[in-house]
């Protein structure tokens, strides 16, 4: 599938934003984040800016962005519509959460309630985003049970590492908790991603050229002539091949840049802070690496996915 910038950026940025929101809500509820209104307000604002940037980017690839509001209407059947609705609804408790933190302080009852509500809505957004892909049968790499947990874990990992990168500037003890959850989420997300890659590499094709044409009873089927001599929409959108050619190397880069590197930086940063300082630089660097790595991972999620329509063109799916 064609990894359009808008959707790859949307799912990476919004994942980090809503993941941050989830951790801010939960960690504030258990009282391990700074109570300062200045910190809370700006942290929630950062999360919402990331989420909003992702949502705005996603409208870029629409043929009619000015009609985007119509996408909120079919939530009964469409995961894309549900994602739109929940992502916008999230801004209500999240806005309140940021405001309450700024005015009433962290861990105040009203802040905790709004924070937990925002956390639930944020994760629900990420889950509906994952379901958009996981519900598409013709794309076997997406129609897979690992996709939903993968999206959630990656959002939680990128969210936690961003919270750690912010909190390090305010309160070093809180940084250890945030760094700790980031490490844990990172390890789980990486394990999930490795499992997913192994699964899609060994899974059987979703269909065959024989079942697609119904000609299997005659024997093996091969494409003799295509309907058109030039590329068309179907081949551009569904027949993207560059990613598959370089999949192995790109996966390695994603692992080092997005997981191993940032997790080492996290540990070094926390230790350096305990010994005197340096975390203020190392943790934001770790967060940046994680975001770039997850962007690459998401690019691969698209680029490696194959669609059954390519069977008609004599390619694998």
């Amino acid at each position: 599938m064609n990894p359009a910038f808008s959707v790859v950026f949307l799912t990476t940025a919004a994942g980090a934003g809503y993941g941050m929101l989830a951790w801010l809500g939960v960690l504030d509820a258990v009282g391990v984040l700074p109570r300062s209104g200045w910190f809370g307000g700006s942290a929630v604002a950062t999360a919402l800016v990331l989420a909003a940037a992702g949502l705005l980017a996603s409208t870029l690839h629409l043929g009619h962005p000015e009609r985007a509001w119509r996408a909120l209407s079919q939530w009964r059947t469409s995961w894309l519509s549900r994602e739109g609705v929940v992502s916008l609804v999230t801004f209500v408790p999240a806005g309140g959460f940021g405001l309450a933190w700024a005015l009433a302080g962290g861990a105040a009852p009203v802040t905790v309630v709004l924070g937990l509500l925002a956390a639930v809505c944020g994760l629900a957004t990420v889950a509906s985003q994952a379901m958009i892909y996981a519900s598409l049968k013709p794309i076997r790499q997406w129609h897979h049970q690992a996709v939903l947990p993968n999206f959630l874990l990656l959002a939680l990992y990128s969210g936690a590492i961003c919270v750690a990168a912010l909190v390090v500037w305010v309160e070093p003890t809180a940084e250890r908790t945030a760094g700790g959850v980031a490490l844990l989420a990172g390890a789980l997300a990486l394990a999930g991603k490795l499992g997913y890659w192994r699964a899609i590499d060994t899974a059987p094709a979703a269909a065959t050229i024989e079942s697609a044409t119904g000609l299997g009873f005659l024997g093996k089927v091969r494409s003799l002539e295509l309907p058109h001599t030039e590329e068309n929409y179907l081949l551009r959108e569904m027949g993207f091949v560059i990613g598959r050619r370089h999949a192995h190397r790109l996966r390695q880069i994603a692992i080092w840049l997005g997981f191993a590197g940032p997790m080492v930086l996290l540990v070094v940063g926390v230790v350096a802070d305990a010994l005197g300082g340096g975390g203020e630089v190392l943790l934001p660097l770790a967060a940046l690496g994680a975001l770039v790595g997850i962007y690459l991972e998401r690019w691969l999620f698209f680029a490696e996915a194959t669609h059954t329509v390519t069977l008609y063109y004599g390619r694998a799916a």
């Binding site: 059947t77 894309l80 269909a207 050229i209 079942s211």
Partner: protein, 244 residues
């Protein structure tokens, strides 16, 4: 509304005969001609008269080779929307632009409200939906809904443009929900099949598989050699002229 309506009795669709299709692309051309100028037009073409032509077609004709050795066949294969009974292309649509009609099962796109998110084209296993980059909306086969009910054209014309154009009568249009209709009878008689049944979309359109060729009882007799020496010059000249 993108919810699938309760299935009605009527299921309009096409039956495509892979035995007789000659791969002439007439159906695709007439489809393009009718629809680009009709209610679902324009079907935009970029660079129509130079390299890198790129345009929207609602019907595409592939050619396959099936089987090996003496059993192998060349099969021409038209591909268009199958008006599925479980069309995920409809349920994924966030706007309600994609819908399936309760009264006859035709799957359509309302271009007035389509936002061009392309998700429906990802959800179709058969590649039946093509995005119009110029108009910013999704296009698909309409089953020529603007012909089949059109009282402004003579009755013989009230069939899909592709069916009307086919010189080999490889395309048949009718109600596949009625077991007594001509198309249903044809499907029953010829063992019509669903494409990619494992996807679970339950296509309404059916494909009639190529007939098995009769296996010759004995190998064909070699041709008798043409006598060359004895015939007179006139006959030799006629023979040469005719075999040119």
């Amino acid at each position: 509304m993108t919810a699938i309506p309760q299935p009605g009795a009527k299921k309009l669709g096409l039956v495509i005969d892979l035995d007789t299709c000659v791969g002439c692309h007439a159906c695709a051309v007439n489809c393009k001609e009718w629809n680009t100028s009709g209610q679902s037009g324009p079907l935009t073409d970029f660079h129509p008269y130079e390299a890198k032509q790129d345009g929207v077609w609602l019907n595409r004709i592939h050619t396959y080779e099936a089987g090996t050795g003496t059993e192998s066949r060349t099969v021409h294969f038209p591909r268009s929307c199958l008006h599925c009974e479980e069309p995920a292309c409809v349920t994924v649509c966030p706007t309600g632009a994609s819908y399936k009609r309760a009264e006859d099962g035709i799957v359509l796109v309302n271009a007035e409200i389509c936002i061009g998110c392309k998700l429906c084209s990802w959800a179709c296993p058969y590649g039946a939906r093509e995005f119009d980059e110029d108009q910013g909306v999704m296009r698909k086969c309409t089953l020529c809904v603007d012909r089949i009910y059109n009282e402004n054209i003579v009755e013989a014309e009230r069939v899909p443009a592709c069916v009307r154009a086919c010189p080999a009568q490889a395309r048949h249009f009718g109600d596949l929900g009625d077991p007594d209709s001509a198309v249903s009878q044809l499907v029953a008689e010829r063992g019509g099949i669903d494409l990619m049944p494992e996807m679970g979309y339950k296509p309404v359109n059916k494909y009639l598989p190529p007939r098995r060729r009769p296996v010759p009882a004995a190998p064909a007799r070699p041709l008798e050699p043409v006598p060359t020496g004895g015939a007179n010059a006139l006959l030799r000249w006629i023979d040469r002229a005719l075999s040119r």
